[in-house]
Amino acid sequence: MTARPYLAVFGALLALTLVTVFIASLHLPETPTVLIGLAIASAKAALVAVFFMHLKGERPMIYWPLALTVFLFVALFAFILWSEADHITLNASMGTF
């Protein structure tokens, strides 16, 4: 048991937070800003879950309920985006999303 991996993850989380703010300050077009912002947030969340929450090396009994949760979470978003696809396309063409 050593604290070193946790400190390394802490450093990575701080660095990724600053990268997120820096990229947002560049005022890139909306789509790449959203994609990059969410990708960095996902990477940070994965670091916290795998190391701080000890998902690394956890039992399958944890993974299965989490896999079901992820599936339902994705389905929730997929159905909303599917039902709103015409609005998104329209708003994207107007430059509002």
């Binding site: 701080l14 703010v21 800003t33 916290v48 879950a49 701080f52 000890h54 009994m61 309920p65 949760t69």
Partner: protein
Amino acid sequence: MQHIPYTIDVRPDTGLTNPKLGIWLFLASEVMLFGSLFSSYALLRSGAPSWPDQSAVLSVPLATLNTLILISSSATMVLAWVALKWHLPARFRLYMGLTLLCGAAFIVVKVFEYSDKFAHGLWPSTDNFLGLYFTMTGVHAIHVLAGMVVNAYLFGPGMQMWRVEPERFTNRVEVAGIYWHFVDVVWIFLFPVLYLL
């Protein structure tokens, strides 16, 4: 009094202690709670003909500070658990105390942010974005406060367990930590979605 079974030893059928399986099942339900809020945000924003410049309405520097505070609290929380694994209760109290301070600092910054919005006449009823902002950050702040109550108990009276059942107390801290890290994960997504994108 009947003791809760499998708080130290793992259950043979699940391979886990009961508290650990319990907290993960609880967090699965929490994912769907916050999922409903995030999906509401996606629905309302994608369907809106126009959307305010979020970074102009909200304070990005304050939100960045709060992000750094909450990430630091996650690190101190896990280090508190490591200290117990090393049988260093004094160090545990130091790190748990820092975790509590970070949680309090997060809430203070959030109160400051809310007060500033109210002073400028910006309320949850002003528009859809502010309605979502106050709802999502408010629900998250309630979760931070709930975690602080548990952590304060473990820092104070709950630590008496360390003398009689150190392994059980260590497991309690780990479970409380898993919840605390989840609250951090939610903020990791709230920060870019509400303030930067």
